[in-house]
């Protein structure tokens, strides 16, 4: 037997080993959470319905690139929206892509944007249980995210404490357009609960919570809005840094999910530059802002940047920090990143393994 034969029998180079930090599960209808929703709220839903803080409660603010913002090939044969079939998710994604752990990020139904705060809180309880019963218990690769109705801090803290310590949950999910910038003190009890329960705060793009997509109002086009997600994420980061959240909660870990990557080094550098000049306005920010970012914030990779040259992409990873990048696919959404083809650069095997698997494994504590 030659060396070549032996090499072929150890296909580590080609075997995919992936932790996918962003998978969107869907309900076929509201009825799916009835078993987990208090009777009073089932009636409420039937009589009054779901009402968000923006108009057209159940509609998206812009037409997505495709219906349900989904891959055209992700519709289950048995009907229902993309992301509602575990069988298809396994066949199309988890199995062929070597996903060892997949994080569920439920986006629709918007419990954090409900006008009726009590209904929003009830919805978080029901949808959190739904994630465990309908998904995690059916496929041990999946993990749930703790949904909270963030504008009701007490209810959010109660739900975080209720789920804390349950290994089915890996993080607390928030959307970027909260009623006030996320670093404001009204949200600090949520951060305190996150630290107490050793759960990271994950901020995923999505929802408007009644706020226009830009500081100047609503854009006309989906393509326009699709770029404004970075603006919302920059506001989140600046708020967390300058309000002193990371000084007050030195153990807090934040994941910025789906916000793009290119802006991160430039925002960090700009914040540092201004800190050199304006520091005395925010004396509680004791260190250069970039240090807080580097120490407390992780970023998911999807939608992967395609800057046009491999060198530019590798330079970007250098500047963000290779250990801060967590791989995500966004399955079943249209801007899905395939673990094999999404990096338009030659990564070393070690670099690829670190981003696809190793970083998330350490970050979420799966190595313990």
């Amino acid at each position: 037997m030659s060396i070549m034969d032996l090499d072929r029998k150890s296909p580590a180079k080609h075997r995919l080993q992936v932790i996918d930090c962003d998978i969107h599960p869907a309900m076929t209808s509201w009825k799916e959470i009835h078993p987990y929703l208090e009777k009073r709220w089932i009636d409420h839903l039937a009589v009054y319905g779901s009402h968000l803080r923006h108009a057209f409660s159940e509609a998206l603010s812009h037409p997505r690139m495709s219906p349900d913002a989904a891959r055209v090939d992700a519709y289950p044969e048995e009907g229902g929206p993309p992301g509602s079939s575990l069988d298809l998710m396994r066949k199309q994604h988890l199995d062929p892509n070597g996903v060892e752990v997949g994080m569920l990020i439920p986006l629709r139904w918007n419990p954090g944007s409900q006008r009726n705060l009590d209904f929003g809180a009830a919805l978080t309880r029901a949808m959190n249980t739904w994630q465990v019963e309908r998904w995690v218990k059916q496929d041990p690769r999946l993990r749930a995210s703790v949904l909270v109705a963030q504008e009701d801090t007490d209810a959010s803290v109660a739900e975080i404490d209720a789920r804390g310590g349950d290994p089915n949950f890996t993080q607390i999910l928030l959307l970027p357009r909260t009623d006030e910038p996320l670093g404001r003190r009204r949200y600090w009890p949520i951060f305190e609960a996150a630290v107490r329960n050793n759960l990271p705060i994950t901020v995923h793009v999505g929802g408007t919570n009644g706020h226009p997509s830009t500081g100047g109002g609503w854009g006309s086009y989906y393509m326009e809005e699709h770029h404004m997600v970075a603006q919302a994420m920059q506001a989140v980061m600046a708020s967390l840094v300058f309000e002193g959240v990371f000084e007050r909660f030195p153990q807090l870990r934040v994941v910025i999910m789906e916000g793009g990557l290119g802006w991160i080094p430039s925002l960090s550098a700009r914040m540092d530059k201004h800190w050199n000049r304006l520091r005395s306005e925010v004396p509680h920010v004791k260190r250069p802002p970039s240090e807080y970012v580097r120490q407390h914030v992780w970023f998911t990779t999807q939608p992967m940047e395609e800057p046009g040259s491999a060198a530019a992409l590798l330079d970007l990873f250098d500047r963000i920090g290779w250990d801060r990048l967590l791989f995500a696919t966004d399955y079943p959404h249209w801007d899905y990143d395939d673990p094999r083809y999404s990096f338009k650069a030659n990564l070393t095997e070690a670099q690829r393994q670190q981003i696809l698997y190793g970083n998330a494994r350490r970050f979420y504590g799966f190595d313990k």
Binding site: M65, R71, V72, D73, D335, D337, D338, Y341
Partner: protein, 137 residues
């Protein structure tokens, strides 16, 4: 060059498509108003099954507020990220030189010529009465 019979003409009506496997390659056969075109089933961007995408036309604008729609049904839009490929050439609209899908030449031939010629369609019974789509690979 080997010629492969991939379909009967009436199997792929205008506006429709058929996915076939030829010598281990997945290839989509498309009928645009009676003309047949073939492209590989792998998107050159990130590897999606391209031929599952929507068939669309070309929308252009000479200036904001003025739209022209042409070439109805001549583009294939990737089911994942929406890259538009010209079914006549395999080239993408936005990066025609850099991002293109392999396209294949197709011919329509009468069953009579196929049966009498040197072509053997082993998995495809050829009858003299019908017309066939033939791919050269």
């Amino acid at each position: 060059m080997t010629r492969h019979v991939v379909a009967t003409v009436d199997q792929v009506p205008p506006g429709q498509r058929l996915l076939v496997t030829v010598a281990g390659r997945e290839i989509g056969i498309f009928n645009i108003d009676g003309e047949f075109f073939a492209v590989g089933n792998r998107c050159p961007h990130n590897g999606a099954s391209l031929c599952k995408g929507r068939i669309v036309g070309l929308v252009e604008a000479s200036q904001p507020g003025s739209y022209q729609f042409s070439r109805k049904g001549e583009f294939l839009r990737c089911p994942w990220h929406g890259w538009e490929f010209d079914l006549r050439t395999g080239k993408s609209w936005c990066e025609p030189d850099r991002t293109k899908v392999r396209s294949y030449e197709l011919k329509v031939e009468a069953g009579e010529t196929l049966v009498e010629g040197d072509l053997r369609a082993e998995t495809f019974p050829v009858s003299v009465e019908k017309e066939y789509v033939v791919l050269e690979l």
